[in-house]
Each structure stands twice: as structure tokens, then as C-alpha cells.
């Protein structure tokens, strides 16, 4: 290839990339950089002060409420992730073993809820978990309880709602890994004398790990940054990072502290993805 064609090609590439780069840079990179800058600014009566200060970050570390917020958020994300693995594995396994005819439908029922608004999906839980919701009404009618259970507006509702919202991601991720497992490996294990439990633990599970890891990172980071679910199902009892950001920004008008919180969240998510790359490298068997 002559240098003229090479130069033409490069020019074409940058010309084509131009709009996209400007778009992303202007709407994503610049705002995030701005946000980072703001997190180091002071605040007074809703006005952002010039200058550099670490006060926002300092207050995150010193203030015990923030410690609680972080703890509860991370704990919720971890709990939801574990629940998604436990609940998601049977479904993913079913999909992977299903004959082609049924697989489409099984996939569909898992993926379709993702296209429904999160507010709507969470609203359903309000109706189920509320004081006069489905569960309480049924249990009262059956005589199992006298007082309605507090299942919503607290941690329990948050975990249940969060699990349901993010479960499809875990299922799809694990299913992809399971489907990639060669049937002959399972048959080999059976012929060599292993029962279903042993085959699962020694062959299926290790080979499904990439899917479990990818799914876990995805669900964990989604739950960390979740906003709708804690907002609607968490109520005042639950302290969540995203809700605190919202409150700081739009209720207390303390933008710098809100952005400091947001920065911590962003760093946590980015760290997670970096760790995922390393974790997945251990499992590159088929290379």
C-alpha cells in the first residue's frame, strides 16, 4: 500500500470518527472530568466555591453516616449478587440443556423483562410486599400472622426487588458459559464413573466460572449504582449511595459532596471491571 492510500485511509478514519468522538467526549468525558473537579471544591449555601479542598472526601471518611451508607450499599450489592447466582444457576442450567425448540422461549422469558421499565418492575413489588400487599394479605387470611410484615420500605424489599431486576443478567451470563461446554465432556465424566453431583462439581461448575464471574461483576456493579430500586423499595430505612447522591445534589444542593460520593462509586465500578479482567484470565482454558 502506497503512502498516499495510507494517508487517505487515515484521513477517512478520523473524519468518520469525528462526530462520534466529539459526541462522547462532549457528553461523557468532559462532564465526568468536570465532576471530578467539582468534587474538590467547597460549597456554601448552594453555591460552588472556587479553590481546591479535600473537605468533601474527608467528610466521607469521617462521617459515620457515610460509613453506614457504603457498608449497606456494598452489603446489598454482595447479597443480591449471591442470590442471583443461587437463583440464576438452575434457570441457566435448564436453558443450556433445553432442546432447541424450547430454548428460544426460555431465553425470551428471561430477557423480555429487561425491556420493561425498572420503575414498573419495582412498582410490582410495592404491591406484593406492601402492608396491604399480596403476601401480607395471603398470610393474614391464612391466619399465619396477626400483624402485617414490614417487607417493603426496608432492606428486605430492596434485596428482593434488586435481585429480581438484575437476575436476568446473571442468568444470561451463566447460560452462555454453560452452553459452551462440550457435551462430550459431560459424557466422558459419566463414562469414567462419575455421578451427577460429582460431574457437576468437577466438570460443569469450573467450566461455568467465566460466566459466573462476568455475571457477578455485572450484577454487583449494577446494584452498586442502582437508583430506582433503593429509591422505591428502600424507603427511609435504607441508606444507599445513589440515593445519598440524589439527596445531596437535588435536595440539599450540595453538589460538591454529591460528586465526591459519585466519584467513589465510579472508582469502585472501574476497579471491579479491572479485577474481572484479571480473574477471567485464570479461566482461559480453551486458549
Amino acid at each position: 500500500m502506497s503512502t498516499a492510500t495510507e494517508r487517505n485511509r487515515n484521513w477517512a478514519i478520523w473524519a468518520l470518527l469525528g462526530p462520534g468522538l466529539v459526541f462522547i467526549a462532549g457528553l461523557l468525558l468532559v462532564p465526568i472530568i468536570d465532576m471530578t473537579v467539582i468534587s474538590f471544591r467547597g460549597e456554601s449555601f448552594g453555591q460552588i466555591l472556587p479553590g481546591f479542598t479535600l473537605a468533601n472526601y474527608a467528610s466521607l471518611v469521617r462521617d459515620s453516616t457515610y460509613a453506614q451508607i457504603f457498608l449497606q450499599t456494598f452489603a446489598a450489592a454482595a447479597l443480591v449478587t449471591v442470590l442471583c447466582i443461587l437463583l440464576g444457576f438452575p434457570v441457566a442450567s435448564l436453558i443450556a440443556d433445553a432442546p432447541a425448540r424450547w430454548r428460544g422461549l426460555l431465553y425470551f422469558l428471561v430477557a423480555a423483562p429487561l425491556l420493561v421499565n425498572t420503575v414498573v418492575r419495582t412498582y410490582g413489588w410495592l404491591l406484593i410486599l406492601g402492608r396491604k400487599g399480596v403476601i401480607n394479605e395471603t398470610l393474614t387470611w391464612a391466619g399465619a400472622i396477626d400483624q402485617p410484615l414490614a417487607l417493603s420500605g426496608n432492606y428486605i424489599g430492596l434485596i428482593i426487588g434488586g435481585t429480581q431486576v438484575f437476575l436476568p443478567f446473571m442468568i444470561l451470563s451463566i447460560a452462555t458459559s454453560l452452553i459452551a461446554i462440550d457435551r462430550c465432556l459431560i459424557e466422558s465424566s459419566t463414562i469414567l464413573g462419575a455421578g451427577p453431583v460429582r460431574t457437576f462439581l468437577e466438570v460443569t461448575l469450573p467450566l461455568a466460572m467465566p460466566g459466573v464471574i462476568a455475571g457477578s461483576v455485572l450484577v454487583f456493579s449494577l446494584m452498586l449504582g442502582a437508583f430506582v430500586t433503593p429509591l422505591i423499595l428502600g424507603g427511609t430505612a435504607v441508606k444507599y449511595v445513589s440515593v445519598a447522591v440524589f439527596t445531596d445534589a437535588l435536595v440539599l444542593f450540595n453538589l460538591p459532596r454529591a460528586t465526591a460520593l459519585a466519584m467513589v462509586l465510579l472508582l469502585a465500578v472501574l476497579l471491579l471491571y479491572a479485577l474481572q479482567k484479571r480473574a477471567l484470565r485464570r479461566f482461559e482454558y480453551y486458549a
Binding site: 462440550d182 462430550c184 465432556l185 459424557e187 466422558s188 465424566s189 459419566t190 463414562i191 469414567l192 464413573g193 462419575a194 455421578g195 460429582r198 468437577e202 466438570v203 469450573p206 467450566l207 479461566f283 482454558y285 480453551y286 486458549a287
Partner: protein, 353 residues
């Protein structure tokens, strides 16, 4: 009399409307190398998988070492299997792969290690103990798969087209290895392939299958020289089957359209089928001499051998194989004479061995 190691009796298996096994019976002798030979869809893999217990039967029974195992699951039958895709567990080392079946049986550490060493010696790959399958070549993976299957000392080792994924040269090497390993281990081998050269080279006996039935079960020589019908004859090598009359008085075969092949036979019925292979046909220039009059239809040269296709007056086509380059004596479209020698005769068989 050889002991029967594995016996399949009257196996019938349907997949939907397809009959994959049509009342098939097969006795595998202790220590032998038996190959199921056929094209895709003939039922050979199904039969093997039924013996393994990976497929259920609609009717029929499987006996191993005299025991009825039809109702047993694969893990209870103490068998070994090697797949075309090797199927080594990618997340385990070679040693862990080989030791898998032994760990399942809860054998002791010492015994497991000793067996792994023994197996690696058998397949001649002692240095690969700690490697992962992804680091091995195709041929190495296949040998480790063999080692893994043999480690549990199975009653029967089944191989489902294990060399199909390898290139020609490697395949030849591994065929020789397989033969050696079979001899050395003394295990009964059941081999499935569609490659007739492979089948004839490796096996003590070959079962040629078609549409869920065994057409002929015999040692390789008899399969080649005494095919029981057109299908078997055609399947293994190129062949022309000539229907002729045996003339007991003259001690030979009278061919249609004239020509006589001296071939004294005992107990030959009047109508017999002559099996004519390319190496049985020699061309001589036209004019005089014995041999059948024919016309040269095609001349093909294949790395050291020339194949002549000639057509007899009766309309039958013969292929003649000659070493060396095409002879100037024979021209495309010209005349020649075909001499037949050492042909064999196809007799119908009385049941299977």
C-alpha cells in the same frame, strides 16, 4: 473358543421415524479389535452409544462379561470411551485427567499415581504429566484421552472416530500407535469409523453396517476378498462384480460375452459372483492372446500408479491398476485385452461369526 466379552442381542432403536438399529446382534470377543465400519447415518455410532449406555434401547439386551447390563447407567458399566474431539477436561492437567476415573472409584493416592505413570508410559508421553490440554497437540491429546480411558481398566474401550480430526500423516502415525497400545494393554477395543483403509488396517474383525444393520462381520481379508453382497464389495475399495457361471467340467468360470477364467473351485454353485479388484486385472495390447476384449475408456495417473478404466463387450466396466506411468501401448478409446487373475468369489454367508 474365544470368550465373548461384550454381547449385543437384537438391538432395536428408533429416533422418531428413523430406525437407527434394526434388530442388530453382535458378539465382541475378549481382547479383539473390532471395528464398526459405515457411512454417516448407518447406525454405527448409535450401536456404540447403546453399548456404552449413553442411549437407551427400544428392545434388546447388552451383556458384558456375561452380566446383563441393559438397565445399568454408563457409569456402572466400567467402560472406556474416546471421542473425536478428545474431550479432555480443559481445566485439569494431564495427570488429573488420567486420574479422574480412579478418583471417582476412590482409589488410594499411591495406586492412582502408579496407574497414571503406567498409562503415560503406555502411550509414550511420560513428560506431559503437568501440562494442560490446551498446550498439547491434537495427536498428544488423543493419546492422553486413550490413557484416561484405559486407566480404569475397562471391560471395553470404545473409540468414536478418534482420528477424524487429525491430518493424514498424523492419522497414520496414530493408527500404528493404536495397534501397539491395543496389543500391549490386552483390552478389548470397539472402533467406529467411515474410513475403510483404517478399518482394514487396525482390526481383527470388521462389521460393515448400513441402515441400522450389519451387512457383514468378518476379518479384513474376507471382507475384502469375499464380500457378501454388492454393498460391502463396493464399500471397501473399488470393485466390479461379475455375474458368471461356474463350469465344473472345465474347472473355471465362463464370462458373459465369451472368455474363460480358469479357477478350480470346490463346492461352487453354478451361478457365482466374481469379485474383480483393480489389482486382479492386467491389460495386454489388443490382438491375440487370452483375456477379455475391451475398450480403454479412461486413463488416470495417481502418484506411481496408473488406473485404466476399460469396458467389456458385455457392458461391464473394469478398473485395472498398473504400477508406473501410463503405458504407450494403451490409447484412450483404443482396444486392449484384460486378463483376470487371483479374483475371489463372493459366497453368501451363513449368518455372522
Amino acid at each position: 473358543m474365544d470368550r465373548i466379552k461384550v454381547s449385543a442381542r437384537n438391538i432395536v432403536k428408533r429416533f422418531g421415524t428413523t430406525l437407527a438399529a434394526d434388530d442388530v446382534s453382535l458378539d465382541i470377543r475378549d481382547g479383539e479389535f473390532l471395528t464398526l465400519l459405515g457411512e454417516s447415518g448407518c447406525g454405527k455410532t448409535t450401536l456404540m452409544r447403546i453399548i456404552a449406555g449413553l442411549e437407551t434401547v427400544d428392545s434388546g439386551s447388552i451383556h458384558i462379561d456375561g452380566q446383563d447390563v441393559t438397565a445399568l447407567s454408563p457409569r456402572e458399566r466400567n467402560l472406556g470411551m474416546v471421542f473425536q474431539q478428545y474431550s479432555l477436561f480443559p481445566h485439569m492437567s494431564v495427570a488429573e485427567n488420567i486420574g479422574y476415573g480412579l478418583r471417582v472409584k476412590r482409589k488410594g493416592e499411591q495406586e492412582i499415581r502408579a496407574t497414571i505413570d503406567e498409562m503415560l508410559e503406555l502411550v509414550r508421553l511420560p513428560d506431559l504429566r503437568e501440562r494442560r490440554p490446551a498446550q498439547l497437540s491434537g495427536g498428544q491429546q488423543q493419546r492422553i484421552a486413550l490413557a484416561r480411558a484405559l486407566a480404569t481398566r475397562p471391560s471395553l474401550l470404545m473409540l468414536d472416530e478418534p482420528l477424524g480430526a487429525l491430518d493424514l500423516k498424523l492419522r497414520r502415525q496414530l493408527q500404528a500407535e493404536l495397534k501397539r497400545i491395543h496389543r500391549q494393554s490386552g483390552t478389548t477395543f470397539l472402533f467406529v469409523t467411515h474410513d475403510q483403509d483404517e478399518a482394514l488396517f487396525l482390526s481383527d474383525r470388521v462389521a460393515v453396517m448400513r441402515a441400522g444393520r450389519i451387512e457383514q462381520l468378518d476379518d479384513p481379508t474376507r471382507i475384502y476378498c469375499n464380500p457378501v453382497n454388492q454393498f460391502v464389495a463396493d464399500f471397501v475399495g473399488s470393485v466390479t462384480l461379475l455375474e458368471c457361471e461356474y463350469d465344473a467340467a472345465r474347472g473355471g468360470i465362463a464370462l458373459e460375452g465369451g472368455g474363460f477364467v480358469p479357477m478350480p473351485l470346490e463346492h461352487a454353485p453354478r451361478r457365482i459372483t466374481l469379485v474383480v479388484r483393480p489389482e486382479n486385472v492386467q491389460l495386454t495390447p489388443a490382438g491375440g492372446g487370452d483375456g477379455l476384449a475391451c475398450k480403454v475408456e479412461d486413463i488416470a495417473y495417481q502418484a506411481g500408479t496408473t488406473l485404466y478404466t476399460v469396458r467389456l463387450a458385455s457392458g461391464a466396466a473394469l478398473i485395472s491398476r498398473d504400477l508406473g506411468a501410463p503405458s504407450p501401448a494403451f490409447a484412450l478409446g483404443g482396444d486392449a485385452r484384460a486378463k483376470l487373475s487371483n479374483c475371489t468369489v463372493a459366497f453368501p454367508h451363513q449368518g455372522m461369526n
